[in-house]
Amino acid sequence: MITKIVANSWEATEGITDGMTVMFGGFGLCGIPENSIAAIRKRAVKQLTCISNNAGVDGFGLGLLLENKQIKKMISSYVGENNEFEKQMISGELEVDLIPQGTLAERCRAAGAGIPAFFTPAGYGTEVAEGKEVRIFNGKPHILELAFDASFAFVKAWKGDEAGNLIFKGTARNFNPMMAMAGKITVAEVEELLPAGSLDPNAIHVPGIFVHRIYKGDHFEKRIEQRTVRQRKTS
């Protein structure tokens, strides 16, 4: 077996340098690689192009890299709820490339699947399609989209084993599996790191071959963005 364990988030982020394109798993604050983000902040690398569905919030998630001025460009589908982001975007400090969420997911998946380009109907007739090839399939116009190319992918899983196999929980799965498959170097932080043979081989979401470094996160805050609940009736 090929083991992928590294000691900690510092070791796991070794090799990230200024100007790189890097992916971050997560949807909103759900399933984000908190520990790797903290280490990247500590490493103070600059001019990053970040591929991530969202850009975190002020003071958490990718917001931590934004406020530290480490991000040159965000490639995302939705970037609300973040004042620092808005400030840097309006001042022109931060470039932003907004793309449809499904296209974002599929461009990650394509990278991990060795598919350099594919056609999708999403965005046809909108500014997203500008400059892109259009072709009709089954009577419907589609646009050509390209696979992403990322030097690093940082993902967060629930359980992992020393072979790099990953299992996610609930909707914390989201973009993590495709990004794990897409990274040239994929770094996974997990809540539980187990010996090989501990996970059901039928239940693995990301086979270890896609994961280059795995470590147990020190601490997971798992902040909730919108706490919505039903009130219990008191009798």
Partner: protein, 217 residues
């Protein structure tokens, strides 16, 4: 005239048994509260769940279980979790029978604009472009006019588009309109709302064919 819950309730009448449904943020989310009796539907949220249930009981929130609006939710028996590529795969391959979303503008040929106001902070389209490019049955839930009193039902959208010719129905506080043949076809009035009120609030081509019934909620 309907309130937000009224709009949601009217849209819920469009649900059919065995529908898989994607509900957008805002009024669309409320539709889940008005599922007609005897109808089984399943809700998908594009961040990776089928079989989405109601909000959790207080104290039972799970940070790993949210909907596309980032709200804490629950999963019903028979639910499944999946990644975002699979999620939009089921959307693009038209396994979702009905999509309900909000809009800033809708045009008489079914174009929709709901993601960008030039000159203002742009938050992004999220999954809306994939949804409107794929779903067969797109219903817009919105107010008939904007805060300045201008009609949101237009001959042509003035804002950047989210999708072309995709909206099938619009439900507002005033009316239900079907979009076909390049026009809004008025099919129901909200309780107490006159045809003239709807006419006045609709800038796009409005077809009024015979007596327009008042909707039943």
């Amino acid at each position: 005239m309907l309130d937000k819950n009224g709009i949601a309730q009217r849209i819920a009448q469009e649900l059919k048994d065995r529908y898989y449904v994607n509900l957008g943020i805002g009024i669309p989310t409320l539709v889940a509260n008005f599922i007609p009796e005897g109808i089984n539907v399943e809700f998908q949220s594009e961040n990776g769940i089928l079989g989405m249930g109601p909000f959790p009981w207080e104290g039972e929130e799970d940070a790993d279980l949210i909907n596309a609006g980032k709200q804490t939710i629950t999963a019903l028996a028979g639910a499944s979790f999946f990644d975002s590529a699979t999620s939009f795969g089921m959307i693009r391959s038209q396994h979702i029978h009905m999509t309900v979303l909000g809009a800033m503008e809708v045009s008489q040929n079914g174009d929709i604009a709901n993601w960008k106001i030039p000159g203002k902070m742009v938050k992004g389209m999220g999954g809306a472009m994939d949804l409107v490019a794929s779903a067969e049955n797109i219903i817009v839930a919105m107010m008939h006019t904007n805060k300045s009193g201008e009609s949101k039902l237009l001959p042509e959208c003035s804002l950047p588009l989210t999708g072309l010719g995709c909206v099938k129905k619009v439900v507002t506080e005033l009316a239900v309109m079907e979009i076909k043949d390049g026009a809004f076809h008025l099919i129901e009035r909200a309780p107490g709302v006159s045809v003239d009120t709807i006419k006045a609030a609709t800038a796009g081509k409005l077809i009024i064919d015979g007596d327009i019934p008042e909707m039943k909620l």
